[in-house]
């Protein structure tokens, strides 16, 4: 395995583009949940994703409190960020 290969996948999984998208998805939404007065339209995508996860989850595993959805939410945001950053990178290359 060449170091070039490792570097390429590292960029794909944890490059700055990934974290930029992750921040855009999560930070404005987190701000809205800390204080509703900090709500901006930028919170919309994270909000819809979080509510969507709970709507589905409540049907499958209704015993869980809704705060546990932060885990699948953050994982989903990360995976989405990898995909979006990957697409942007592919289009640029």
């Amino acid at each position: 395995m060449t170091s070039d290969w490792v570097d390429r996948y590292w960029q794909l999984a944890a490059g700055s583009g990934v974290w930029a998208v992750f921040g855009v998805l999560t930070l404005p939404f987190v701000a809205a949940t800390v204080d509703v007065r900090l709500t901006t339209p930028l919170a919309g995508p994270g909000y819809v994703l979080f509510v969507g996860l709970t709507i589905v989850g409540e049907r499958i595993v209704p015993q869980y409190k809704l705060v546990v959805y932060w885990v699948p939410f953050l994982v989903s945001c990360y995976l989405l960020s990898v995909v979006v950053a990957g697409i942007v990178r592919a289009m640029r290359d």
Binding site: D35, V36, T39, A43, Y47, V51, I55, E58, R59
Partner: protein, 266 residues
Amino acid sequence: MNRRAALAAGTAVVGTALGGIVVGEYEGDTSPAVPPLSATGTLLEDTDRETTYYELGGGDDGPTGVIIGGVHGDEVNGYRAAEAILDWTLAKGSLIVVPWADVAAIRANSREGPDGDLNRKFPAGEEPKTELARALWNLIVDTQPEIVVDLHRSRGIFETHDRWVGQAIFPTATGDALEHAETLVQDLNDEIVPRTLRFHRFTVGNELGGNRPMIIHKVGADLGTAGYIVELTEFLLDLETQVDWTTLIAARLLGAHGIERVAADR
């Protein structure tokens, strides 16, 4: 003992009983204005269910309202909003406030007290099922209220999440409660719920007619009085906002029934 001293003494007792959960609201209050409480009373005195209620206003012959918080001990917004209402000065009408209906449940920060869910002890057309429920019911009946408001919150959102009832106002089938609830919900969605948080828009719940053993069901069915269950949610909504919105909703509902606070209060 003047009113203020009486209040301080009363809340000190409750505060101790609740392990300091609520006492801070009053003890540190250095506001120069004397709170316009005209009286306090006690339900189930000298028992472990003992709780204080407060009478506000009453200077005119206007309508009387009843505000109940803490029926479910883990629904913090309800009793915090009721505590905030204790600081009001009323311009019209009067209020009976029961901030900590189920003290034992609040102390345990759990939905239910030692006798179970307090809001399942009020069958329509029958005696309430526990001593606490009977005491609370007698207070409501003796008050001859124009409106009764019971403050709650839910884990999720009504009609978004299958089993939860948050962000909804449930009016009694009696009088013009439904109409007032509809106006209120529209105003709340226009004025306070951010557009982005579309699932948190308030809705009007089903009308309460006495088919379930809840306080407000019984208010509607047995007294023919307008009543409302106010349900906020803890879902993605910070506690301060829950309390502020709950307090605002109570103010609007009371206003719709002719009980108004002095605007300069806040």
